[in-house]
Amino acid sequence: MAESQNLALKPEFIPKLSSFIRVGVEKAIDALSKMVGQEVRLMALEIELVPASDLLVWLTDEQTPTVGVYVLSSNSPSGSCHLMLLFTTQDAISLAQMLVPFEAAATLPGNDAQLTELQVSALSEAGNVVSSYFLSHLEKAAGLEMYPMPPYVVYDMTGAILDTVIADLSTYGEASLVLDTAMTTEGHQLRGQFLVMFDSIALEKLEEAIK
């Protein structure tokens, strides 16, 4: 699958990058904890260099109904990255209830799950906070200037949500670095994934900055 450029990050770079990235993810999850008013724990953090075309295979069951909170960083000389919080509908509702506890229900099309406008707005804000903290870490620690664009909250099959991201990554290079993070809370059984997918330009800049 070595299609084009830049699948050749040095293996020794990955652990270094991993610990650097972990700090950013922890800051982002910590910001989410403050927002929901209880501890959100980082359960797992996987970092892997994956060809864009293989992302879906690596990530998930593509047909699962999913609520995605998606943030694209603005295009800059530092490249760009896609940040995505993914939840099952029930977990999205759990998070939303933690964010705005006394909201009544509304209906997601084709699904029994329910989210109100205010809850959706709160999820959007959660995406904003998480991505801002993560990108801020990249800027402070590695000098990468990437700023979050306004979040989208979208409900569809996981694969359908992600394939635009995958196509965009493929436009800039076949390599993408994926962070797959599982998080959880005590009371609400919340599980979700925080994905960060860097394009090949951002990858090169990251490698330069932290080698």
């Binding site: 299609e3 879906l56 694209l72 959706v120 394939d163 635009t164 965009d168 493929s170």
Partner: protein, 185 residues
């Protein structure tokens, strides 16, 4: 590529071949069903020869190999519309199909990040770099026109993801969405 019997509320047909991103699958085996799951901006281009009873599916990701990328290695055969179609034709002909009889159908090219699936998002059009579904539809139709073909059926655009099943030896195609819609072509 994998054989699978993935389900999401509705049963999937037996003997299923899941055609992944950038893959191309051609067959003359009547027992097989080809599928592309959860298409967003991607396109499933389905082809069929009713006499030779051969068909296939290409899971197209982008309209063309980006100019900024140089291809110095193996290109996934179904990934780029401009490369996928000629490759598809060659492989169909290898199994006895004739281009005079080709029938093409296409599915996908949605803007999932800009419409019905969106619960919340910035107002105004999506950034052009994310408007990939529309570019993919144009790319596939252009590639077909340039090769002298016209799709006989198309279920494209909109804002919802789609899953497609294609029966390559009889040319039937079924499209499903998360909202429970099902359409046959």
């Amino acid at each position: 590529m994998s054989t699978a019997n993935q389900e999401s509320g509705q049963a999937s047909p037996p003997n299923l071949i899941s055609v992944g991103l950038g893959e191309l699958y051609i067959t003359n085996k009547p027992e097989l069903t080809l599928a592309a799951f959860a298409l967003g901006s991607c396109i499933a281009l389905c082809a069929h020869d009713p006499v030779a009873k051969v068909g296939g599916l290409a899971h197209i990701v982008l309209p063309a190999l980006p100019l900024s990328l140089k291809s110095n290695g193996e290109i996934p055969p179904g990934k780029y519309a401009d490369k996928a179609l000629p490759e598809m034709i060659v492989r169909l002909e290898r199994l006895g199909a004739s281009r005079e009889r080709f029938i093409f159908k296409l599915v996908g090219g949605a803007a999932v990040l800009s419409g019905a699936g969106i619960l919340s998002g910035p107002s105004g059009p999506i950034p052009s770099r994310l408007d990939i579904g529309r570019r993919n539809v144009q790319g596939v139709i252009n590639a077909l026109f340039q090769a002298g073909f016209f799709p006989v059926a198309a279920d494209f655009g909109g804002q919802a993801g789609r899953t497609v099943f294609f029966w390559p030896t009889n040319g039937k195609m079924r499209v499903r969405t998360l909202r429970g819609e099902e359409r046959d072509y």
